[in-house]
């Protein structure tokens, strides 16, 4: 895997800027070439000092069969101990006569003994050796030689590949990413058997040394987009990266916007499809989610299921989704506006029912809606943390209290309960969770405007949101593309889901470098009668 060295920036990471650190952030590792000399004991002392109070660091000292003292350092639990013990140590103890140089040892182990490792390296840099141990490797030290050998024989427990918990589909692949970066990249490689699929890696996080991999397809993705992503990542000098959200907030164009400008997914097929449209994927070790940029509002309203169902059904479901997105944002506000300011819009029979229901409620429509929405938000948030064993019971109680009892007590009207339930269901239709959160957040100010000015207030609120969306861009791509600015050819996968045999072009906003997806009409056989 090619390692991308980030360009150094002048200035410190943060912390006490008054201290001169010569460009090095404070609390850094010791100088790269401590003067330990060739002595094994000195080298071991150095490592033992670095790993002071680390009981899981194992130092196995042994003699090579040639008589030289040596030591193997590794972290228990991170490496394959059988390989370390039986293969490396035993082979070197018993069969490594007249092997003095590291190259000879490597040749002996790899060619003669058939040791299989993904990476190995000879280094004189103590810090590199330290990093290799921390990165699930083993480090072999030999007395009388400056050089150290690293073996990447990692074998730590990982979660098995499961069905995506948040993006399940009825028809389509059921694999999701896990926390291990290598396995995630393997899942991608299986789908993109193309030499153009690039995986540029870097390390971010001075303390956690988290591996980040930038993926794209060379020849489809715009080089400027890749450069821009690298430029933004180069500015991150944080001490720890424990999840992709640490990166997301640093690279998105407008972090203060309620709307997400970076998509995340736990599905490899979604990432593969995005890369094939000229977008970028970002993987963070330890996170079972990949980030995808650039993103538009319409992309966030699409689901991978759309591409596995028949196009007519998928189009219909998409329209339902668009409609219910509006419902999720506007339904309570419309109820407040219409019942307070525009009752003439409601048919008389229905108006009588609503009026009768609201007669016993002591609160104005806005307060009623606000209380119910707040209660629903609390219920939704609580349900995330409720233990599974009692979750079902608590949901039933919550529904009963909020639904039936509140109505019977006259605190809220039945219509309001229906409104809130519909709104809640509508918000779960939005495939992307962050976008659903945005709509939930924006619902409240629009309710307030509706209470003050009726439909005019709702219109003004929508105009403000609309202008904000028009302003927003994700890595140079306007957020409302392809509707505004209008890109007619891209509408075939926005307003509708065109059949695959009609989708000859990739989205122009991201894949202008290589816009042709398919040249021939894949249903041409129907025209050729012969």
């Amino acid at each position: 895997m090619p390692i991308w060295r980030r360009p150094k920036h002048s200035g410190t990471t943060g912390g006490d800027k008054s201290k001169k650190t010569d460009g090095q952030p404070p609390n850094t590792l010791p100088p790269s070439r401590p003067s330990t000399g060739k002595s094994l004991e000195n080298k071991l002392d150095w490592f033992q000092q670095q790993f002071k109070n680390c009981s899981d660091v194992i130092v196995r000292q042994f003699d090579l069969s040639s008589g030289q003292s040596s030591a193997l350092i590794y972290i228990r639990g991170l490496i394959n101990q059988t390989t370390a013990q039986d293969f490396i140590i035993r082979s070197l103890q018993e069969e490594a006569d007249s092997l003095e140089k590291p190259e000879d040892i490597y040749k002996f182990l790899f060619e003669d003994k058939g040791l299989s490792v993904s990476q190995n390296k000879i280094t004189e840099d103590m810090n590199e050796g330290l990093d290799a141990i921390l990165d699930a490797g083993a480090l072999l030290l030999i007395d009388g030689d400056n050089r150290m050998m690293t073996f990447s024989i990692s074998s730590y427990p990982t979660r098995s590949i499961e069905e995506p918990p948040n993006e399940s589909v009825i028809r389509g692949p059921r694999e999701s990413f896990i926390e291990d970066l290598e396995i995630n990249l393997t899942l991608m490689r299986r789908r993109l058997k193309n030499k153009g699929f690039k995986t540029e890696s870097l390390i971010i996080g001075t303390k956690t040394k988290t591996d980040i991999v930038l993926t794209y397809i060379d020849g489809i993705c715009k080089p400027e987009l890749v450069d821009e992503m690298k430029r933004r990542l180069s500015y991150i000098e944080i001490d720890s990266v424990l999840g992709s959200s640490y990166i997301e907030e640093s690279i998105e164009d407008n972090p203060y916007s309620p709307f997400p400008q970076v998509q995340y997914t736990e599905r490899p097929d979604v990432v593969a499809a995005a890369l094939l449209e000229g977008r970028l994927g970002l993987f963070v070790d330890g996170t079972p989610m990949a980030l995808i940029v650039p993103v538009t509002l319409t992309m966030l309203l699409q689901s991978s299921e759309d591409y596995f169902q028949r196009f007519i059904a998928a189009t219909w479901i998409r329209w339902i989704r668009f409609f219910f997105s509006f419902i999720s944002l506007l339904l309570p506000s419309l109820y407040i506006a219409i019942t307070t300011f525009h009752p003439e819009m409601i048919p008389p029979q229905f108006l009588r029912t609503i009026a009768a229901a609201r007669e016993i409620v002591p609160f104005p429509a806005f307060l009623e809606a606000f209380m119910m929405e707040l209660a629903f938000e609390a219920l939704r948030e609580a349900s995330v943390r409720i233990p599974k064993s009692i979750g079902q019971a608590v949901s039933i109680i919550g529904a009963l209290i909020i639904g039936t009892a509140a109505v019977e007590a006259g605190i809220v009207s039945a219509a309001m309960v229906i409104i809130v339930s519909l709104t809640g269901i509508a918000s779960f239709i939005i495939p992307h969770f962050d976008l659903g959160l945005s709509f939930r957040l924006l619902r409240f100010p629009i309710m307030f405007l509706a209470a003050m000015f009726g439909l005019y207030g709702i219109a003004c609120g929508l105009i403000l949101i609309y202008i904000h969306l028009n302003n927003l861009a994700s890595f140079g791509v306007p957020y409302l593309s392809p509707v505004a600015p209008l890109v007619v050819s891209d509408l075939k996968d926005t307003v509708v889901r065109a059949p695959w045999y009609k989708m000859h072009k990739r989205p122009l906003q991201t894949a202008a470098v290589n816009p042709t997806r398919q040249k021939k009409d894949s249903r041409g056989w129907a025209k050729d009668k012969g």
């Binding site: 008389p348 219109a459 028009n470 505004a484």
Partner: protein, 373 residues
């Protein structure tokens, strides 16, 4: 200079710009001045406006990478140029305030009775200020996004109102034509459609400047279709007397629609359509005013001027007339000459001076830094 405005965006914005205000607020005035000649007057006025806007195009395209506000002083002299630009800016601010006032009057009289006018203007002003501050490309993109829905909705309304039309009166549109009525109507429409001229103050922003006149032609055609699709039903449903006495005849037309028992009246839906379209129009007018003032004064970043100018437009809209009657009188009688001066006479003067100077073979410097970049 980022060329960010495409032809389709110009088409979208100007369609909304023209047909919304005419349909929402000016139908009564058109009918009262032109009676059954209103449709013919509208057609003539629209195409005449496209022709008369041509001098603006010539002047702007003489230096496609510079703003007229910046190089205009070299054509007519610095003093007259400042006065001309100030007149144009004042007219634009006045039109913005007028549209804002008409919209707030409409809302306050029909839907938001007892609501103080300042609150309605304040909320809308915030939206406009945000849009102006966001820039021209945002305004044009916003127009592009809502144009199709607005156009379809505006075109659907007359179809739904078809049942109420007095079809026998259709012949009057051809038989009751009078020259005076047509002249009055043409003058009003020249003022409306002449707002196309203001785009030439922003010529360097255009991606395809050479196609602008062609875009204008199609914009005029499409907005004419939409306007006539409302004007003719209003004329044929209410007649001349009632139509000219109604303040909002289009609203009354919509109230005639019976769309089944589901929604008794559709007019609150009209609010949404009108609001978004008027918002785009006022934002564009305010933006051009802001950018002209910024370029005239040499201020690099126009955004700093957006808030005070929009606030002034808001106050002006409240203070500009004591009553709706006074406002209607102003729109009908006193406004047109000043608007026509800003849209046609001033660009024509620039064009004449441009030709005179070109004849004298004076060269211009290559590029200047501008506030719009």
């Amino acid at each position: 200079m980022q060329k960010s405005v495409s032809s389709t965006q110009i088409f979208s914005l100007y369609n909304l710009h023209i047909f919304t205000t005419v349909i929402a607020f000016l139908l009564g005035m058109l009918i009262s001045s032109s009676h059954f000649s209103a449709p013919v007057a509208t057609v003539i006025g629209a195409f005449l406006a496209v022709a008369l806007v041509y001098p603006s195009y010539i002047v702007a395209s003489s230096r496609p990478n510079e703003f007229l506000t910046e190089f205009g002083g070299e054509l007519v002299g610095r003093g007259p140029h400042t006065i001309f630009i100030l007149i144009i800016v004042l007219i634009k601010l006045l039109l913005s305030a007028l549209n804002l006032r008409e919209m707030s009057d409409f809302l306050l009289s029909i839907y938001l009775i007892d609501t103080p006018s300042w609150s309605v203007v304040l909320i809308f002003g915030i939206c406009i200020a945000y849009a102006v501050r966001s820039g021209l490309s945002t305004i044009f993109r916003a127009a592009q996004g809502i144009f199709l829905i607005s156009a379809i909705a505006f075109l659907m309304i007359p179809f739904l109102a078809m049942m109420e039309i007095e079809k026998d009166a259709l012949i009057a549109l051809a038989s009751h034509l009078h020259f005076t009525d047509i002249t009055h109507g043409v003058i009003y429409n020249l003022g409306m459609f002449g707002e196309l001229a203001f785009l030439f103050l922003l010529y360097p922003y255009l991606k395809e400047p050479k196609k602008v006149m062609k875009t204008y032609f199609f914009t005029t055609l499409s907005s004419l279709i939409i306007i006539l699709s409302h004007l003719i039903p209003v004329l044929l449903t209410f007649g001349v007397d009632l139509g000219s006495n109604l303040v909002y005849p289009d609203l009354e037309l919509i109230r005639f629609i019976r769309a089944g028992s589901f929604i008794e009246t559709l007019d609150p839906i009209l609010i949404l359509l009108w609001l978004t379209s008027i918002f785009v129009k006022i934002s564009f007018l305010c933006f051009t005013a802001v950018i002209c003032i910024a370029q005239l004064t040499g201020v690099k970043d126009y955004k700093s001027l957006s808030l005070p100018i929009v606030a002034f437009v808001g106050v002006l809209s409240i203070a500009m007339a004591r009553s709706q009657q006074e406002l209607s009188n102003f729109t009908a009688k006193n406004l047109s000459p000043f608007v026509l001066t800003a849209e046609y006479v001033i660009p024509a003067i620039y064009m004449i001076m441009y030709f005179i100077r070109r004849k004298k073979n004076k060269s211009k410097p290559a590029e200047t830094k501008s506030a719009g970049s």
